[in-house]
Amino acid sequence: MAAQTLILIEHDRRQVKRPSLHAVTAAQQLGGDYAFLLLGKGLEEMAKSLTGHGATAVLVADDAALAEPLADRYATVIANAFQKTGATTLLATSSTFSKDILPRAAALLDAPMLTDVVAIEEKEGALSYQRPVSAGSMLATVQLKGDKRVLTIRAAAFAAPEGNATASRVENLAVDTASLPNGMQFVSREERVSDRPDLTEARVVIGGGRPLKDKETFDRLVGGLADSLGGAIGATRAAVDTGLAPNDCQIGQTGKVIAPELYIALGISGAIQHLAGIKDSRVIVAINKDPDAPIFQMATYGLVGDLHQLVPQLIESIRKG
């Protein structure tokens, strides 16, 4: 079961989350072999689905005590597995799941950790890692000391792995339930009805203004573009006032202040009220039919034209990849 990199796989109790596998590409860049680690209850099918990705082994900790991802138990089991495999890198794709559990495991392993790695480079024999800091406005290059490390990588920065014909073995890890921490208890889960992320935390936000006319158009264009990019939807105060979008979508001085990596403003002229809420966005795209709209002064990229034509084209173009 030895491997140089141990990749923690995330699942939703039914299937493996695809972005989890992007860590394979990072593991390949790190060099050496890698094993998968899967924790939970009733994992047989999922473990099988992981055998075609070139891992030396698929380690499975399948126990009722691990039915819910409680950080204290999970970190303990993961740290034990890491030591058992003799791995030097513990790796996962960034998510609230991995960010909750892996730092705790890193502390148990007495290892340094980096989150949200977007690039791995080798310079003069030493590995260095790039990761965004200050809400994505800066890119830091970092080196690590010691012989162990814990990393989470951004799925977007590492490609999905290609399939590998060599089937991996599935190995069960014995879980000593009695020795697991017992201070945390799962109560309930309420999954978001919409798949869209929270406005203030989304990496991509699509904002809509009053020229979208009615709610149906707003949902189709703003919502459609948001969904094609996995982004959140936002709106100007004027759009909220006229009922195009709910009040909690309002971005601006008196609404939410956002700082996404990409903000796309559809039919937004650029009232100060709104600009105050988007000024910290890294890239701003404006699509508006008025070439003199103030939003263009702030936009990284401006496109003048009719929303009703351009936005469906844009959605189509993004869908195609």
């Binding site: 006032d241 006229t242 009040n247 008196t254 609404g255 009232a271 100060i272 600009l275 105050a276 000024k279």
Partner: protein, 664 residues
């Protein structure tokens, strides 16, 4: 004609009243006045729980104010039933009180002057004002029973008061008529007491003297008991304002409307107190002012917060605080909700309306200061204040970008043109708000066309601190004020022109508190001067569409500038100019003042919606204004209102610039 024997032209006073009854009479009257006195004293003691001072101490100002606001009732006059009935009641009450006092002096004084021509005219005057008084009571009852204006407030005490006043008037005439009947006054004398005489001639016909005497005695007692009851119950009903109103009118401190009272850091360090946390943290004059309120509701009628459905009524601020003063208890969060205080736009409409000069905005400002000091402010307004502190403007934009609006205009700065006459104070909105930037551009172009020698501060300019002061962070304001006064001093600024009424107000009325004395003009005033000097033209094109003007509160009401913006858009000569019902000093707020610009507001509660509808109703196709915040709010209001999409919202400078002939 019957000979007029002047000696019969007089009346008896206590003729029908036995000596023991007279003693009882005086005992009752003095007892009721004593009860009144004690209760007023109790009020006095409760006012003294406040911080010392706050009173206007100049007797000449007292006299002036009492003449204008108490005697001439300046603030009461309006074209309403309420104003009319108040006039009747007020004049009736004043004349009848003076008359009764004169009677007492004549009867018990060393020299009885109560006869002859004096007596006849006295009787006539008393009858006329007695009728006025009764009419006033009846109208008030009608208003209470049928109009039931909600802002007036209704409770059983009001009926008690009106009932007792009406009964006093009616029994007064009954006593007069019965006295005349049994003393058989000669007709030529009786005619002067017209009402009594008419009652005598109609209702008392055929009643014999002893019966009349008995009836007189009975009604005299009823009248006397009513008088005693009236005095004793004054402090528990609206009538108290007859005493407290004039006191507050005299005592209210003389200050420009747009100036808030500065706090001293030393005082804060000494007392550990910022603003008003407990009722006793108000000053004594403020506590007195609470008791001056007679709950007429005029403040509420003009309040933009009340009319847009926010949880604020200036009247309830006063009466709720009065409740705490009288009965004790917690002020913040119990008697007064923080949301109530944050709802105020500080438009000063209530202050302008109040007949007894209550300073609602000062009360609210003091309580806001406490909330801010206690860390009860969070969310968007907190962010704006932080940005004023950190970046020097509420938008949180780099202060170095202050000249972005002027790109391509070659606007002179204090560095490129150090010998400027006017400093053009641009303000944060016009520096950073893309819409207001156009106003700054228009203003600068007009100043150039008009040949004005001006300059701008560029990145040396920072927020005046107005939003900080109105929201309640007095010391952030003072920090800004000191910085700006220092900058203006270094640049030797004497005359300032600005397109923002809030900057205008703060620079003009509040910076002198920090040693900054300038001649400050709103751009409308300077532009009007340029028009009058013939350097700019305000002539509208022949086919111009209807235009109306929204007066910014801090320009018109607070600083009295009503004519200049009208001159700039050529209102006097423009047949297409439409005035809104609420205009000039009686303008209606856009909803942005008092720091409200920086608060989140549910769409249904936007003041600008109401104002937009009012403007649309005039048929105007252009709404001109003179404030970047009004511009912002009214644009939003128009966009949401029915028919508002066809109305352009412009600054007066933009209107004026469009009327200038093209120059080479």
């Amino acid at each position: 004609m019957i000979a007029m024997d002047q000696s019969v032209a007089t009346r008896e006073v206590f003729g029908n009243i036995a000596p023991w009854m007279r003693v009882l009479f005086f005992a009752m009257i003095f007892a009721s006045i004593a009860i009144l006195g004690c209760q007023v004293l109790a009020h006095w003691i409760s006012w003294r729980k406040g911080r010392r001072g706050g009173f206007e101490m100049n007797p000449r100002i007292w006299l002036e104010r009492l003449t204008i606001y108490a005697l001439a009732q300046k603030r009461v006059h309006k074209k309403t039933l309420g104003a009319l009935l108040h006039l009747l009641l007020f004049s009736g009450f004043v004349v009848l009180t003076i008359g009764t006092t004169l009677l007492a002096i004549a009867d018990d004084g060393p020299y009885n002057f109560h006869h002859g021509w004096y007596f006849l005219i006295y009787e006539l005057v008393m009858d006329v004002f007695g009728v006025a008084f009764i009419l006033g009571c009846l109208l008030a009852m009608y208003r209470r029973a049928f109009q039931r204006k909600p802002s007036l407030g209704h409770n059983w005490r009001d009926w008690w008061l009106l009932g007792i006043l009406l009964a006093l008037g009616v029994t007064g005439f009954a006593v007069e008529a019965l006295r005349m009947h049994y003393t058989q006054v000669q007709p030529w004398v009786a005619h002067w007491s017209t009402v009594g005489w008419l009652i005598d001639r109609t209702m008392l016909r055929g009643i014999d003297v002893p019966t009349a005497q008995a009836m007189h005695l009975a009604s005299w007692w009823v009248h006397t008991i009513l008088v005693a009851a009236f005095f004793a119950t004054i402090p528990v009903n609206r009538f108290l304002h007859v005493i407290t109103g004039p006191l507050n009118i005299a005592a209210h401190p003389e200050r420009p409307m747009g100036q808030l009272v500065p706090l001293k850091m030393e005082t804060v360090e000494e007392t550990g107190l910022i603003g008003v946390g407990q009722i006793g943290d108000f000053n004594q004059q403020q506590l007195l002012s609470l008791d001056a309120c007679m709950e007429c509701g005029r403040c509420e009628d003009v309040c933009p917060a009340t009319s847009s459905g926010k949880p604020l009524s200036p009247k309830f601020i006063v009466t709720d605080l009065r409740g705490v003063m009288a009965n004790g208890g917690e002020l913040h969060g119990v008697a007064i909700n923080p949301d109530t205080l944050w709802s105020c736009t500080m438009c000063q409409a209530c202050v302008q309306e109040c007949p007894v000069l209550i300073g609602h905005v000062d009360l609210i400002s003091d309580m806001r200061r406490y909330l801010v000091g206690e860390g009860k402010l969070s969310g968007p307004p907190a962010r704006s204040l932080q940005q004023i502190g950190n970046q020097g403007n509420p938008y949180g934009r780099p202060n170095g970008d202050r000249l972005a609006w002027a790109e391509g205009l070659d606007v002179p700065t204090v560095e490129s043109n150090p010998n400027f006459e006017y400093l053009f104070w641009v303000g944060c909105a016009a520096s950073f708000d893309p819409r207001a930037q156009k106003v700054a551009r228009a203003t600068a172009q007009l100043l150039k066309k008009g040949g004005v020698n001006f300059a701008v501060l560029g990145k040396e300019e920072t927020c005046t601190g107005d939003p900080a002061r109105r929201i309640g962070d007095e010391f952030l304001f003072q920090e800004r004020a000191q910085t700006n006064v220092e900058t203006l001093g270094r640049r030797q600024v004497k005359k300032i022109v600005t397109a923002c009424p809030h900057c205008h107000n703060t620079l003009k009325n509040e910076y002198p508190q920090f040693g900054g004395e300038y001649q400050v003009q709103h751009h409308s005033a300077l532009l009007a001067e340029l028009i009058e000097a013939g350097r700019l033209t305000n002539k509208a094109e022949a086919d111009a569409k209807p235009i109306t003007l929204h007066d910014p509160c801090y320009l018109a009401r607070v600083n009295g500038e009503v004519e200049a913006p009208r001159t700039v858009i050529g209102a006097a000569k423009d047949e297409q100019f439409r005035e809104m019902p609420r205009c000039g000093k009686k303008t209606f707020c856009c909803g942005a003042g008092g720091g409200r610009m920086w608060f989140d507001e549910p769409p249904a509660q936007r003041v600008s919606n109401l104002r937009a509808e009012e403007a649309i109703a005039t048929g105007a196709k252009t709404l001109a204004t003179g404030c970047p915040f009004c511009l912002n709010m009214m644009s939003d209001g128009m966009a949401g209102a029915k028919g508002g999409q066809n109305v352009k919202v412009l600054d007066i400078a933009e209107v004026l610039l469009s009327r200038q002939p093209p120059t080479g």
